[in-house]
């Protein structure tokens, strides 16, 4: 059994309305010094798999076929 931690983030330059709104809200709560906020997704997948190489290539495929939107998002994978 392995656990994959997938981070999906917006590519540089892509507008992030959520991040913008969060940053704005933090500002108005009185937090200062906030330079930038970006929001992404974090997905944990538990896999019945023991081989790290196989697991990684499976999760790679999941990301490119389903989890991430290649037009505007990047993804990264960590295995445990």
């Amino acid at each position: 059994m392995m656990k994959a931690k997938v981070h999906i983030t917006l590519k540089t330059g892509v507008l992030d309305p959520q991040g913008k709104a969060i940053s704005h809200a933090l500002d108005s709560l009185g937090f200062d010094g906030i330079e930038d906020v970006r929001q992404g997704k974090y997905i944990e997948i538990r896999l019945a798999e023991t081989d790290a190489e196989t697991a990684r290539s499976k999760v790679e495929a999941m990301c490119s076929r389903l989890l991430a939107n290649p037009v505007i998002e990047n993804y990264s994978i960590e295995l445990e």
């Binding site: 309305p17 959520q18 709104a21 969060i22 809200a25 108005s28 709560l29 929001q39």
Partner: protein, 232 residues
């Protein structure tokens, strides 16, 4: 009888509820901008539907921190009636005035349609004008309407008779199909511990005249306004 509607950036049912209240009260409610920290002296505060702050991060999360909301919380604690519809319900759970949280709909899709709800308690200013067990037709329109509470809280709500409405079939059965969003125990509306705060996902303000296709919403508001008038 005086009412106020709080307007957040991104509220979009503020006009709708103002029109409905005016139709039932005979005069317009006060519209309060979220930055105002002073509220007029009113018998009812309404938090409208919409997408305050775009519903970014979590529905209702950012609106809670507005100056007007601090005052709403204070008034609610003093017993003023507070009604949150849709996004207003989300703001109320985020503010802690109501328990639980409103999460993404079970089918992960926005849902806009008429639903039936059953009146579960008449022990509140909001529902005292209705009949316990009667079914009413209201529209819903939301992305995040799946009401979540943990087991303990659910038991408390049940024991204290604080569930105001449940989603039902037109003949009054609580079923999965009748539940548009996956809310726990079919909950469509809940009361706060002092019974003067109601949060509900359905939009009674969208059915207040025949041209809109029904008047169950009007009955709801008239019941509420009568009760408030009597209580004055």
């Amino acid at each position: 009888m005086k009412a106020a509607v709080i307007v957040f950036p991104g509220s979009n049912c503020d006009r709708d509820i103002a029109v409905a209240l005016e139709a039932c009260m005979g005069h317009a409610p006060a519209m309060v901008w979220h930055r105002d920290s002073e509220l007029p002296d009113v018998d009812l505060i309404a938090l409208p539907g919409g997408f305050s702050y775009g519903d970014y991060l979590r529905s209702g999360a950012m609106a809670v921190h507005s100056p007007a909301m601090r005052e709403v919380v204070a008034r609610a604690e003093r017993g003023v009636a507070v009604l949150g519809i849709c996004n207003g319900f989300q703001v109320l759970t985020e503010s802690g005035l109501l328990p639980g949280a409103l999460m993404r709909n079970r089918d992960l899709r926005f849902v806009c349609r008429d639903v039936w709800v059953r009146v579960e308690t008449t022990d509140s200013v909001f529902t005292t004008g209705l009949q316990k067990g009667e079914c009413m037709r209201f529209p819903v329109a939301h992305n995040d309407g799946s009401y979540f509470v943990d087991d303990t809280t659910l038991a408390t709500l049940q024991d204290a008779d604080r569930i105001a409405f449940r989603y039902v079939t037109p003949d009054g059965q609580v079923t999965d199909d009748a539940n548009p969003n996956g809310s726990r125990a079919g909950i469509a509306g809940v009361l706060g511990p002092s019974r003067n705060v109601l949060g509900m996902m359905p939009h009674p303000e969208r059915l207040v005249d025949e041209a809109q296709g029904g008047t169950d919403g009007r009955r709801f508001f008239e019941g509420l306004l009568n009760a408030l008038e009597t209580a004055r």
